[in-house]
Every structure is written in structure tokens, then in C-alpha cells.
Symmetry: C2
Subunit: 341 residues, 2 copies
């Protein structure tokens, strides 16, 4: 057990099964408190597990009282999640308290998923895959002639299943040259036959996120699978390179490699294809309660990837003004190798 | 002109008409920069006004280079928006830089709205009002028998108008005793005739938020207006008290009063009615690019309310396990008095 304080919504949820936008979680060895304001205490008392609910209008003041009552001298916090002002408020009247910074404290705790968490992430991924299939069928049926904005709205509705699920993030629906922006916002651009269409989207199943991307050719038929035949040989060549990078990283990654080593597996394929400069982001990121977690699969990541970690593999090629391609899957490290969720 | 650095999305947007989830805005007198990563630079260059777009993988490092190049000795930041780690990274290699904390720096700048901003907020409020009417018509037609979750999904769809608008926040749709939680999450609770139904919701028009709450009686007819007749005399009494508090605050508030004085106008009505303890939150909050901004209309707020400020008036009464009531409108201070938007 440890002594720490958390304020990020998912970090708090991970500890006690409940959180909101104005709550603090304090753990002092085997005792724990969820401190929140009166708007939330009724539902907090129903939902919190393993912690006492404390109602306060000034959350920091309530935490200071608890720290004083328990004569706490040292407390861990995450300097990524605490704003300067809140930390100073905590410290101001407790000058002898040592606040020990541990960056990404909760993300590190959450990096290796439990079997229960992996089951939730697998279910989220499965629901996400089903939504991609349903979106593909919709686009094939009536998508041509609709704007990115309209397709974005349709994608959201399909992912959310009439409100049953929340979204992991605002979906990216991009047509043609708009797909060259890795985080494109939907525009009035209308989908035509012969266009490239990119969908990057996910949903939350019991708060655990899915994340998936497919880039497809809108021909007479539309399939949101990996086999794609583009009319443009230039786009096809880039697509094949992204697919090879994606498949290579998944087949060659092993437990014990660093994030940087796995990133290099994908990056080298695209670099050897002469398009390294067009792969403008990292190969992947962990997924869990947050859509972006550890381990990061990037050039700089020295995190050693182990069994039980869940992350994306999502290489891409982006040619501004022309097109963008990305293929993304979630994988779990199991028996030393990635398995697609 | 000033020298400051911002990282909050809406603070950055206010300065240059663009923002994303990984951007910094730096102003040094009449020069300004929007620093972001390669995923976003294509769209940033299309959208940013009055600032140069800088692409960087390490945003803080890029800002340090700009600060060094311009020999900056003093820079304002907001300790509410900067995490400890990011601020330390900025400071670490520039030990002679004085980082001056100004809490709520951007919110203070944005507190008095321009005529253009008030027009956007008025339009958002109008669209929000229309959505409440449409939701009321839907509930009257086919809402009885649906769960809160389903009604929540319907409310979202109506507010968003098939993707034309984003939401200001996750709408609150609460039936009966669930409404006693001011920030209730939707459940499987089914709406029946004779129930109380609370809707607290808003949408964004060109990024400016609306915010509105109505609590209605689901009888043979359903109207999302302020005139309500509940079957329970106890609920009716509480409703009339909330309505009187709402109307009193709006009719008696004046420019020059503090937020606390306006809060007291509503609170005294409910206290005199003997239900002061059931009004568990503050009377209102500013609305703009953020759904919660200055001025706060709360017991403690010493902010002087002036012409051009836009805020909510939203008293409520909450009886855990029984019911909750809230009536909320957005007002703008004009010619010294609040006008409902």
C-alpha cells in the first residue's frame, strides 16, 4: 500500500470505481477517501468501492484535514495531472508535508492490464469492429453524396448504438486530401465514388476504450477490411506500405522490446519504401481507461513492453493536399507476442 | 500587449481562432506563435489568425527557443491551467525567466464579451431553446415508457441536429428521484406518467456554449416551459420556490453587484421558504467558450458583475431519494440589468 493523492477522472475511477469532474482520491495505506462536492455525493455513495465518501465544498481543504489527522509527512502526486495552483493550495498550509512527484503515477500502475481489464478491452474492440462493419454497410448503401460532417454524425450514431456506449474520442472521418491531416475535423467535403475514406474511431465499454482505423477505397463496393484496391497506383503503393508496416510490427514485436524498438519495426518498412518523412506520428499508444496511455510505441519510448499490456499499432502515410492512409488495430501482449484484440 | 503563454484549448482558440489538444500559444507583445505537432500543422496553417504556426515534436522545447531568441525575462502563465511538470519543463533550462502566475488569466480576459461574442451566445441559447421545445414534443409523443438512457440519447440527437452542433456538456436527463442528484447520470429508470423530468443541456454554436435547465411534470400534456403543475403539493411548493428564486435573481440583479450579492438574491428566497439546505450549489456561472467561466454567481464570488458579462441563473432544490428541481437560463448584463438570452 502507498500514500498518494489523485485527481484525474480515470485515475480516480481505477482506484474506487467512481469519479466525476470535481473529485480527489486520497489513499493512506489501507484507508482511502473520495472527496467530492454536494452535487455528487448522493451518487458517489452508491458507487464508490473501498473508500469513504467525504463531502466538501473546498476539496483541498478537506484533504488537508485528513492529512493532518493522520499526521502524513510524505504523499505521492503526479506532476502531469496536478495544476500548479492546486498543488500549491495543498502545500500552503502543510509546509512540512513532502509532496513527492511521480510522473504518470496512475498510468504506470495501469500499464499491465488484469485479465478482467483485457476482457473489457477485448469486448470494446469487438464492438468497435462491429461498428466499422455497420458503418461500411451504411456507406456502401447511401454514403456517396454525403458530406464528411454527415458521415461523422452517422459514424457516431453507429458507434454509440443509440446511447448504449460513449465514444473513446471524437471520430475522425476524412475524405481524400482531408485524410492527410492525421487529426482531421469533418468538413462539408462530399464523398464521391473513387474517393479514399478514412475512419478512426472507438467506443467505451464499461469505460474501457477501443481504437481502430481503416482507410478504404470507395468503389462500386466498399469494404472496411484491410484488402483495398485504389484506382491511383500512387495511393495503392502507399497503402501497401502502411499495411506492410502494420503487419510487420504486429508479427515481429516481442515482449521485452522497448516501445522504440517496436516503433522501429513499422518505421523501417515505410522508410525503406522511401516514404519515411510522410509517417509523421508514432506507431502506437497504450489503451485502457484513457484512450492514450502507456506504453507509448514511439521513437523515444524506453518503456519495456510486457505481457498484459494493450496498445495500438497504427502506422500512416500523409501527403498534404493529396491523401492520407492509416491502418490501426489494438493488440494485447500475450505469451510474449502481440495478439490483435 | 502582453507577454504570456497559454495551453488551455479554449484560451488558445480565443487568441488565434484555432486550437487542438496539443498546442501552446505564445504572445510576446505584437508577435504570436501557435506551436503544435505535425499531426495538426496542415489544418493549423489553414485556420490560425494573427499568429505564426510552429511545428514541433517537443512543444515546450520550441517555446524555450522562441523565449531565448527574444530574450524574454518575464512571462505570464495561468497556474490553474499549467500542470506542475509542464511548467517545470519550461523553467528548467531558462532559470532566469520569471514565470508570473496570473490565475484565470484567460477567463478574466474573456469575462466581458464583445458584441460579436454575445451574438454567438444568443444564437447558441436560441438553438438550445429550440432543442428543448423539440425534446418536449418528442417526450409528449413517445417519451413515456422510455428509459433515462434512451431519453438522454434522444436529447443528444436533437441538440446536435444530426451533427451540426457539438454539445456544451453531457446532458443531464433525470426522472423523479434521480433528479435529486444535480449531476445525475442516466439510468435504466423508465419515464412514467406522473413523473418529474429534468433536462439540463446545451449546445455549441461556433464553439460558444448554451446552457439551460427545465424541470417538468409528465402529465397528459408535457410542456418544457416554466409553468408546471405537479401532482404532489410538496414538489409543487419546491418548484414554486425555485421559480421565484430564479425570477427574483433575474429581476433584481444589477451591474455593480458582486457574484455573491446576486447569489444571495436567489438563495434568500429559498432560505425564507425553509429549504435553504436543499439548495446545494451556487446560483450560476459565466458561459462562453467554456461552459463554466467567470463570473461565478456563488456565495464566495467577489467578482463585480458588469455589462457584457454572460452567466446562468440556476437555483435548485434537491431532496435525496425524492426529487430534484432546477430552472436555468442564460442572461447577459445589458444597460445594468440581466436580459435572458
Amino acid at each position: 500500500m502507498r500514500r498518494y493523492i489523485l485527481r484525474d477522472e480515470n485515475a480516480v475511477y481505477y482506484e474506487c470505481g467512481y469519479s466525476n469532474d470535481n473529485a480527489l482520491f486520497l489513499r493512506l495505506e489501507d484507508a482511502a477517501w473520495l472527496v467530492t462536492d454536494s452535487r455528487y455525493t448522493t451518487e458517489a455513495k452508491e458507487a464508490v468501492r473501498g473508500a469513504e465518501v467525504v463531502e466538501a465544498s473546498d476539496l483541498i481543504k478537506a484533504v488537508r484535514s485528513l492529512l493532518r489527522a493522520h499526521r502524513v509527512r510524505k504523499l505521492v502526486y503526479d506532476p502531469k495531472e496536478w495544476p500548479v495552483e492546486a498543488l500549491e493550495a495543498l502545500h500552503s498550509k502543510l509546509p512540512r508535508l513532502y509532496l513527492r512527484p511521480e510522473p504518470a503515477f496512475s498510468h504506470r500502475k495501469r500499464m499491465i492490464k488484469s485479465p478482467e481489464e483485457i476482457a473489457l478491452l477485448a469486448r470494446a474492440a469487438e464492438l468497435g469492429r462491429e461498428a466499422f462493419r455497420a458503418f461500411g454497410a451504411y456507406v456502401a448503401r447511401e454514403g456517396v453524396g454525403l458530406s464528411e460532417k454527415r458521415l461523422h454524425f452517422v459514424a457516431e450514431g453507429i458507434l454509440r448504438r443509440e446511447g448504449a456506449y460513449a465514444l473513446s474520442f471524437d471520430p475522425i472521418v476524412a475524405v481524400g486530401a482531408n485524410a492527410a491531416k492525421p487529426h482531421a475535423l469533418p468538413t462539408e467535403r462530399v464523398l464521391r465514388r473513387g474517393d479514399l475514406l478514412l475512419l478512426d474511431a472507438g467506443l467505451k465499454y464499461r469505460r474501457y476504450c477501443s481504437d481502430r482505423t481503416r482507410t478504404v477505397y470507395v468503389g462500386d463496393e466498399i469494404c472496411f477490411g484491410e484488402d483495398q484496391r485504389f484506382a491511383s497506383p500512387r495511393i495503392q503503393r502507399a497503402y501497401d506500405l502502411v499495411r506492410k508496416a502494420h503487419d510487420t510490427a504486429i508479427s515481429k514485436a516481442r515482449a521485452g522490446m522497448t516501445g522504440a524498438q517496436i516503433d522501429a519495426l513499422a518505421r523501417e518498412v515505410i522508410e525503406k519504401g522511401g516514404m519515411g518523412e510522410a509517417f509523421v506520428h508514432s506507431t502506437g499508444h497504450g489503451v485502457g481507461l484513457d484512450i492514450h496511455e502507456m506504453p507509448y510505441i514511439s521513437k523515444k519510448s524506453q518503456t519495456v513492453v510486457e505481457d498484459g499490456m494493450v496498445f495500438t499499432i497504427e502506422p500512416g502515410i500523409y501527403i498534404p493536399g493529396e491523401f492520407g492512409i492509416r491502418i490501426e488495430d489494438m493488440v494485447v501482449m500475450r505469451n510474449g507476442r502481440p495478439e490483435i484484440l
